[in-house]
């Protein structure tokens, strides 16, 4: 008698569950989201690709389509227009867009707590401190964000940029003049530098680096961006996306080599040693609490004062008069205070 009851209960339970499944809205199936990167996939994008290949996003009910990018600015615009749901783009670029009137995009989770920007220079050109850069030749490309922020770098480190000559070329090969010695220095990022220094050394040129964070610039780097409309209408999706992404970031911080292996599943053309070096450089400079944070959601917290400072530095570098309320550029609703 007992076994029949058990069987009937199981059948009833299964039937109810099936009925519920059939009646449930489509939201039970994974939500499809698009996620645009700041650049073509490189080592520091490993957390995102690992999030997909390890099923972290899937676990949170998300089907994430990662779209390789071609600059932070286009990525910001894509979110603003609604063409993509989320973007990974530099906060200073978002600030610039906001200062120019863009209102619909917010940071929903910080990722690069510190900026990865730096200045690369040739040691044999008599440069040992930032002030030595005055009057030298710079390799740059038009529209370079870090190139523009160099203005603030110069002011903070007490030298003028007025005497500096520029060699402009197209991204992403704008550093070539520096490699062959035609230029003395160039704005760059720590992930680029880590590999370039080795390659330049092979060519007989010793490159030094002034990292922005070591020379008085503490601003935010790249973050997860979303449209205010998405935040208003699909808050749950944003919450899950932020959680899954930050979980992935922490995992990558703790297991960088495995993260690069995951990255190389979809991007096998990336060289493992270079990608790993890129990731490690970014983890060290821009995500310092990545491995140690007690809760991955703490990694995404935005401090109002630091956001204000980031905006101010952009204003100064671009010579802009208008202002924007820092609180308009982010929300901490999906993250945790460290």
């Amino acid at each position: 008698m007992k076994s029949i009851t058990r069987v009937l209960t199981s059948v009833l339970f299964a039937a109810t569950f099936a009925a519920l499944q059939a009646a449930a809205p489509a939201a039970l199936a994974a939500d499809k989201v698009t996620f645009k990167l700041d650049f073509s996939p490189v080592g520091y994008h490993a957390p995102f690709y690992a999030g997909v290949s390890r099923g972290v996003y899937a676990k949170h009910g998300l089907d994430v389509d990662i779209i390789p990018g071609n600059g932070s600015y286009p990525a910001v615009l894509d979110v603003a227009s609604g063409r993509v749901d989320f973007a990974f783009a530099d906060t200073s670029v978002l600030a610039l867009a906001a200062l120019k009137g863009l209102r619909d995009v917010k940071v929903v989770a910080m990722v690069f707590e510190e900026t990865p920007y730096s200045v690369l220079y040739l040691k044999n050109k008599g440069i040992s401190k930032p002030a030595d850069l005055a009057g030298k030749t710079e390799a740059n490309f038009t529209g370079s964000g870090v190139g523009q922020l160099f203005q603030a770098f110069a002011r903070i480190n007490g030298f003028s940029t007025s005497g500096i000559k520029e060699i402009l070329s197209a991204p992403p090969t704008y550093l070539n003049p520096l490699v062959v010695g035609q230029a003395d220095f160039a704005p760059s990022t720590v992930n680029q530098t880590v590999n370039l220094r080795g390659l330049a050394k092979d060519a007989g040129n010793d490159l030094g680096e002034f990292r922005f964070i070591d020379y008085g610039i503490n601003i935010y780097g790249a973050a997860i961006l979303a449209n205010t409309k998405t935040i208003a209408e699909h808050s749950d999706v944003v919450k899950r996306f932020v959680r899954a992404t930050l979980e992935s970031v922490q995992w990558a911080a703790r297991h960088p080599e495995a993260a690069v292996d995951e990255l190389r599943k979809t991007n096998p053309q990336l060289k493992k040693d270079r990608a790993l070096a890129e990731l490690r450089a970014i983890l060290q400079v821009s995500i310092p609490r990545g491995a140690s944070a007690a809760d991955p959601l703490q990694l995404g917290w935005v401090d109002e004062a630091k956001m204000a400072h980031t905006i101010d530095l952009v204003r100064e570098s671009y010579g802009l008069k208008q202002t924007v309320d820092p609180r308009a550029l982010y929300t901490n609703a999906y993250v945790a205070k460290p």
Binding site: T34, K36, F39, S40, P41, V42, I67, P68, G69, N70, P74, L77, D78, S81, R83, V84, P172, T173, N176, V179, V180, Q192, N195, L196, L199, A200, D202, A203, G204, R264, N267, P268, Q269, L270, K271, R274, A275, E278
Partner: protein, 255 residues
């Protein structure tokens, strides 16, 4: 007895070998930085690197080129027909055709991706825009190049405008169309490449950009090498098609 094929292609091959050897030697001799100019040996290694899914990337770009080119040919010839048959419509359409050609695709590509999404549709559209102008111009020129006395001859047999078009203008236009096809096919490769530079998930253009941002010059050059190969293959196919389609033009063929 040396086979004729060998004799025919020997000079070009020898020159290519000489260039490659000189390149390799110069790069090593002058310690040219790898990221500026890699050695042929490094590029060759990248060409066959198993960790790069070459077939996939070549296929992705190849599909974009073929479809974009196909549309360029169909629309290009169609527009040329309209321009030649109706001077009114021709005046209306020609500025747009010119605009499509002259407008810098690099500037407009992001807008197209914004409009159509991050997939291959805008890429194919850009490929089409880059490739279709030569088809229009060459076909229109060809259709208009008919000797007016031939038109008289046909008219003397009470030929309609359609008869003249079908029997005389089309065949007269054929050599011009093939010239257009040759130019367009190579432009289609360039167009797909330009589009991929702006946005792509895969493809030879994607590889070039990705290689550049990771300072992997051998990979960038290898991807470019496959692109060149793709372009050459297309050109050769068109030339072959020309030879098969126009047996009467053999003494007049130049390239």
């Amino acid at each position: 007895m040396i086979p004729r094929v060998v004799v025919h292609y020997a000079p070009a091959t020898i020159l290519a070998v000489v260039v490659l050897v000189a390149w390799e030697a110069l790069v090593r001799l002058f310690h040219v930085p790898e990221i500026i100019l890699p050695a042929p040996s490094q590029i060759a290694a990248a060409l066959v690197d198993p960790s790069v899914d070459w077939p996939h990337h070549i296929w992705v770009t190849g599909v974009e080129v073929v479809i974009g080119f196909a549309f360029a040919v169909v629309f290009g010839i169609a527009i040329a027909l309209v321009i030649v048959m109706s001077s009114f419509l021709g005046r209306v359409l020609l500025p747009w055709v010119l605009l499509a050609q002259i407008a810098p695709k690099i500037a407009f590509a992001p807008i197209l991706f914004l409009a159509f999404g991050y997939n291959q549709l805008p890429t194919i559209l850009i490929t089409f825009l880059v490739a279709f102008f030569p088809m229009v111009v060459n076909t229109a020129t060809g259709l208009s190049s008919l000797d007016p006395r031939m038109k008289d001859l046909l008219r003397s047999y009470q030929a309609s405008r359609w008869d003249v078009l079908r029997k005389a203008q089309f065949p007269t236009a054929l050599p011009y169309v093939f010239t257009g096809l040759k130019i367009s096919s190579t432009l289609a490769v360039i167009g797909a490449n330009v589009a991929e530079f702006v946005s792509a998930r895969a493809g030879l253009g994607f590889l070039i950009i990705n290689a550049q941002v990771t300072f992997n010059a051998p990979l960038a050059f290898a991807a470019a090498g496959y692109l060149i190969l793709l372009g050459v293959l297309f050109y050769a196919l068109v030339a072959l098609l020309e030879r098969v389609t126009m047996p009467w033009a053999i003494p007049h063929r130049a390239a």
